[in-house]
Amino acid sequence: MAKPKVATTSLAGCFGCHMSLLDIDDRILKLVELVDFDKSPVDDIKEFTGRCAVGLIEGGCANEENVRVLQDFRRHCDILISVGDCAINGGIPAMRNAVPLKECFQEAYSTDNRLGPAVYNPDNQIPNDPEIPLLLDKVYPCHEVVKIDYHLPGCPPPADTLWEALVALLSDKPVALPYELIKYD
């Protein structure tokens, strides 16, 4: 029987959750015996090659591309897991949520009002190339965009949390994390 496939992605995240996945240390050898990786930065596969058993989502949705990738994961994965605080509540990127988008852009790019950084931008241009994904009005937690089956909180979730959850799911057991593996920091 073919091994079940796992896909991972980092949306508006910092790749810290992926680092935490690598932090399972030598258990990663056991993991590659258990699963094949599909679309993931781990193996640099850009597009889904087929149906996946588990999708791990790091980061929330900050722009339209994040939403498209997340919807693509939902279509291809049997079980979708929000990994880490950014996927669950938007995290650090969501600190902009109480600020209007225009003010965010001005803060980042405008030299007009002396709010922005010392960039050379005499025309006060806000980047608007069609190649650049449009920012959403705010950063959305993944479960407010698509159906998410499990949440693994943490910043990042401890390697043991990821390991326990993955092994449980791959062996058709319920994900029951002990007290010390549910942490928000």
């Binding site: 929000s82 605080d85 669950i88 509540n89 938007g90 995290g91 650090i92 969501a94 600190m95 949520n97 109480a98 600020v99 705010k138 937690p141 479960h143 407010e144 998410i148 499990y150 949440h151 693994l152 909180p153 910043c155 994390l177 007290y179 010390e180 549910i182 942490k183 928000y184 920091d185």
Partner: protein, 233 residues
């Protein structure tokens, strides 16, 4: 007239003294009732409703409801636990609780309650309200993003510190903790040694220049759930 009162919590017989609240009697009996606004040294406030129990079939706040003979209290039932979980969920989505960089993380009672209830993500949509920070005072600051309006600082400043530094203003979603001054916290006589600063259950009222003083793994709620100190009795 007898000077003890006998009632039951989840079918277990508990005795208490006249004048005690359900929470006080439960604490003495080693039964933990989750709470956020209640604190032993402060007068009951009854505002957070996390301590909601069923008393003879009706929901009541255990921190304000006095005990009575023959009272039937339900604490650890599916229905009550669901109510409490919803309240905790709502407190998380109504504020901006960024635990990942909060200095209170690991020692925060709101976070600890969510851990105790095994909450991986709230079930309500996040509101991301715009809240302000008052960092004018040299030694302490208010971060209203993290404030859950429990009123502990209001009561501690009034009743223990004798300073009346804090009070609520506004109503409903606009309600917030204000300071007793024309403008800012710096204009009050608040001090870092005030009990009001110590009693904040979250990171809304913190001392400056403390930072992440206790390493991860050694903080109050890293290994033991909130309430286990009461259940140990």
């Amino acid at each position: 007239m007898s000077n003890t009162i006998t009632f039951t919590i989840d079918g277990v017989e508990v005795t208490g003294q006249p004048g005690q609240t359900i929470m006080e009697a439960a604490d003495a009996a080693g039964i933990y009732i989750p709470r956020l606004c209640a604190l032993e040294e402060l007068s009951p406030h009854g505002s957070c409703r996390v301590c909601t129990v069923m008393v003879n079939g009706r929901p009541q706040a255990a921190c304000t409801q006095p005990i009575a003979d023959g009272m039937v209290v339900e604490n650890d039932t599916e229905q009550i636990l669901a109510i409490r979980r919803d309240i905790i969920d709502m407190l998380f989505v109504e504020g901006n609780h960024f635990c990942m960089f909060c200095e209170k993380s690991g020692n925060c009672e709101l976070q600890a309650l969510a851990y105790r209830f095994g909450i991986a993500a709230p079930r309500f949509p996040y509101l991301f309200p715009k809240r302000d920070i008052d960092a004018t005072h040299p030694d302490i600051f208010i971060d209203r993003n993290r404030c859950i309006l429990c009123g502990r600082c209001v009561r501690a400043s009034r009743d223990i510190d004798g300073k009346n530094v804090f009070e609520f203003v506004g109503r409903g979603f606009e309600k917030r903790v204000a300071v007793n001054a024309e403008a800012n916290l710096a204009d009050t006589d608040a001090a870092a040694t005030d009990e009001a600063v110590n009693v904040c259950p979250t990171g809304a009222l913190l001392k400056k220049r403390v930072g992440y003083a206790v390493p991860v793994g050694q903080r109050k709620y890293d290994h033991k759930p909130i309430g286990s100190e009461i259940e140990k009795k």
